[in-house]
Symmetry: C2
Subunit: 460 residues, 2 copies
């Protein structure tokens, strides 16, 4: 490890400067005019992989490319597949950025740029770790595969199809993902659970055009009123979802895990204060960590109807719509729930109103066994790098493609992130701490080295 | 009348051409960059009034000007005050206009332009009627006052203040307003009732910023969910308003009036078909005409929260807001209702949510006595001009400034409109039938002539 760490220290400056070049490419996947930039980012990354001795391929898809590379196969040895994404969120609103989103700027030890932590910086930690390991250990007694996508912020459709078709090529024992956060600065975490998600858009139509609310009001069903009535029946005032069968497969949180959550150094008061909330709210009988990490829920993400400008307009709108999501916990069946949601909404829709329900996307939750050897290795690597053992946590968010890849490839998942909770993901002034960047590289290298060491041990 | 009608026929061409010039002025009162155009329209109108021998004044206000003019005072004779407005709605969306909104274009006997029927065309009918009458009868044995505003589409604040301050100058026996519709083509109406209105905007705030719905969902009250819950408590599923005391002062519709409504040649099926509604909806026990003309109601006019773009966004919004209006019937007390609405919403607002209620504007309903001599005169004038007696109707809409003027000036109100229900008020391709324009002028002239005749009769 001495030599690996020495190599990493000697090259730290170059890693940063290359990382910044990567950040300068505005690879916004959702905006068609940036398609060339997403392609450029793929090429930049392929070039980087070539320089560490691999023969990457840029996989063309219906939309944005994938980048795939692998070290030589080793019979009967473990395979790790490293996932990451090189596309980024749109930078809007631009006027809230202190420095331009695609001109990486260092302030207070962090680099500010769109994609800094999500996910270019975190992705690169594994590339640089592999660079050092490939220099230090040859032949490498296990195989590393890299699969990077350019569509994560836009639904991951292409990689989803690719993984299904090329599941033998991508076969692996462990999927390593750094598209997540540490528990706190200096305190690493191994995330072993994610919630699933189901996203819908409900559109209600009353009259075929907007009406004058004076001339027609009182005799025509107002779809905005109907929308409130219907959504009000989806969740009750205690935060319980009312869709029939919704809780059927929800696994109660084991006492051991509840204790583990309760033992985390988590200041609930401070947590709510930071977001300007005087008082939390949610399902009774659960702590806020339990509510967010291990209980399913319902949120309205958007409401749209009628007049939204300044002042008032006496319109009886023709349409009203809502975007909403359910967060699911592992074992809940997204397909069954989608069916129940549709049936239930149909049953509470007034006969005067036409309803359309669009299912937007969905994925089940993920719960990784903590008994895997990779978790044990990662625990040691993180402890050695950060000087303290990782916390074992779950996350309330969803990474649908990870749930899907773990199922299709039947692999363990190691979610170890280097982000911090104030990194402004998807928001203006996204940043990535350079200390996290370099420590992430070292932790990843330590992890690979430990896999190699155990593998060599086996051979002896 | 022979000579008056002859004069009107001889000048019909000029009236149209002047009317079209008036329509070319884009006097949009709500858009600050059009302030000069509103001023131009005021000057155009003042110029027109000068040409018929009056000495109009352009009254400066805090916002848009008023135009006032009067014929010589006649002691002990009636005074009629003619109200109208020369400002227009914004023309957006522009791309839906077949011909440009400020280039009046005649198609199928109607002139298409913003403001054609609302209210430049209707307003001018009384100006041209007065022109003819002033030529034919001198001295005029009663007094005509004209008060035209440039702010009707933007709240009528200036005229409201002006009327309060100058109520002696504006003293009148009857207020004549043509900012409304006929019952059907060729079928005039005298509108004797308007609903009142109370407009509010409710804004709910949860966290101080938008949150990630995965990270926070389940532990933080979602203001969009709270909005649905609260609005759902304002009106029940039978269309009854739930604000305490809301129906306290609502006068039951007299049997005589119910019969009168029922006798109108109104095809309910066709009415709903035209707006693409399979089935009406509203308070039980009332016909759709009763629901719209003589019952109070509640409508949501706009809903706004979270993400409204394409696709989905996993946001737990910080804010959710609704614009909504109550329509009131005469005798309901707007002030008391506003207080009750605020108290009720406060009482049903979850403690985790901050609420702000903005009262936007309001006015009580209007119910005009049908026993007035002016109604009798107008009935005769309309019958003579259109060849059939007018229907007596109410309207579901509100003209707050008319309610207010009738109260402040203690005057009868004569609501006689020349518009048709397909004139596209406030919408693209607004039009005004030229037949309605000329018949409106004739009906107004007949009305004035009849007032003069009766007055002369009195003198004898």
């Amino acid at each position: 490890m001495e030599s690996v760490n020495q190599y990493l220290d000697e090259n730290a400056q170059r890693f940063e400067s290359e990382f910044f070049d990567f950040l300068k490419i505005p690879s916004v996947s959702t905006v068609p005019s940036h398609a060339d930039d997403v392609q450029k980012a793929a090429e930049w990354l392929a070039n980087r992989l070539t320089q560490i001795g691999l023969q990457p391929e840029i996989v063309k898809t219906k939309r944005h490319p994938l980048v795939y590379a692998e070290t030589p196969a080793v019979p009967n040895a473990p395979i790790v597949l490293i996932y990451g994404h090189f596309d980024v969120q749109p930078p809007d609103p631009l006027d809230l950025w202190i420095s331009p989103p695609f001109e990486p700027t260092v302030r207070d030890g962090s680099v500010y740029a769109r994609g800094a932590t999500d996910d270019k910086g975190q992705l690169l930690t594994h590339v640089y770790a592999a660079e050092a390991i490939l220099k230090a250990i040859h032949p490498l007694p296990f195989q590393i595969k890299f699969l990077f996508e350019g569509e994560e912020e836009d639904g991951s459709d292409s990689i989803s199809e690719y993984v299904k078709v090329f599941k033998e090529k991508l076969a692996c024992d462990c999927l390593i993902v750094s598209d997540c956060e540490m528990f706190a600065p200096g305190q690493p975490a191994i995330i072993y659970g994610l919630r699933g998600i189901m996203a819908f858009e409900l559109t209600l139509t009353g009259a075929c055009r907007d009406l004058h609310s004076g001339v027609f009001g009182g005799a025509v069903y107002n779809p905005a009123v109907a929308l409130c009535q219907m959504l009000n029946k989806v969740i009750d005032e205690n935060g319980r979802v009312q869709i029939p069968g919704f809780y059927k497969d929800v696994v109660l949180i084991p006492d051991r895990e509840r204790k583990q959550f309760a033992d985390l150094p988590f200041d609930e008061k401070e947590f709510f204060e930071k977001i300007g909330v005087a008082k939390g709210f949610g399902e009774k009988g659960f702590t806020s960590i339990e509510q967010r990490w291990a209980r399913p829920t319902f949120d309205i993400n958007g409401l749209t109807s009628g007049y939204q400008g300044e002042g008032s307009k006496t319109v009886l709108p023709s349409k009203a719509s809502a975007k909403f999501t359910f967060r699911l916990v592992p074992k809940q069946n997204p397909e069954e729930i989608a069916k129940n949601v549709e049936q239930y909404l149909q049953s509470v829709c007034p006969p005067e109103i036409k309803m359309e329900l669009e299912f937007q996307h969905g994925a089940g939750g993920l719960l990784v066994s903590l008994d895997s050897e990779f978790v044990e290795i990662a625990t040691a690597a993180l402890e050695e790098t950060f000087g303290c053992p990782p916390f074992f946590t779950r996350e309330g968010g969803s990474i649908p493609i990870i749930t899907e890849m773990s199922e299709v490839l039947d692999a363990d998942v190691l979610l170890i992130g280097w982000g911090l909770d104030d990194d402004n993901l998807h928001a203006p002034n996204e940043k990535f701490s350079l200390a996290c960047f370099h420590r992430g590289i070292k932790a990843s290298a330590r992890l690979m080295e430990e896999i190699a060491r155990r593998q060599k041990g086996k051979k002896v």
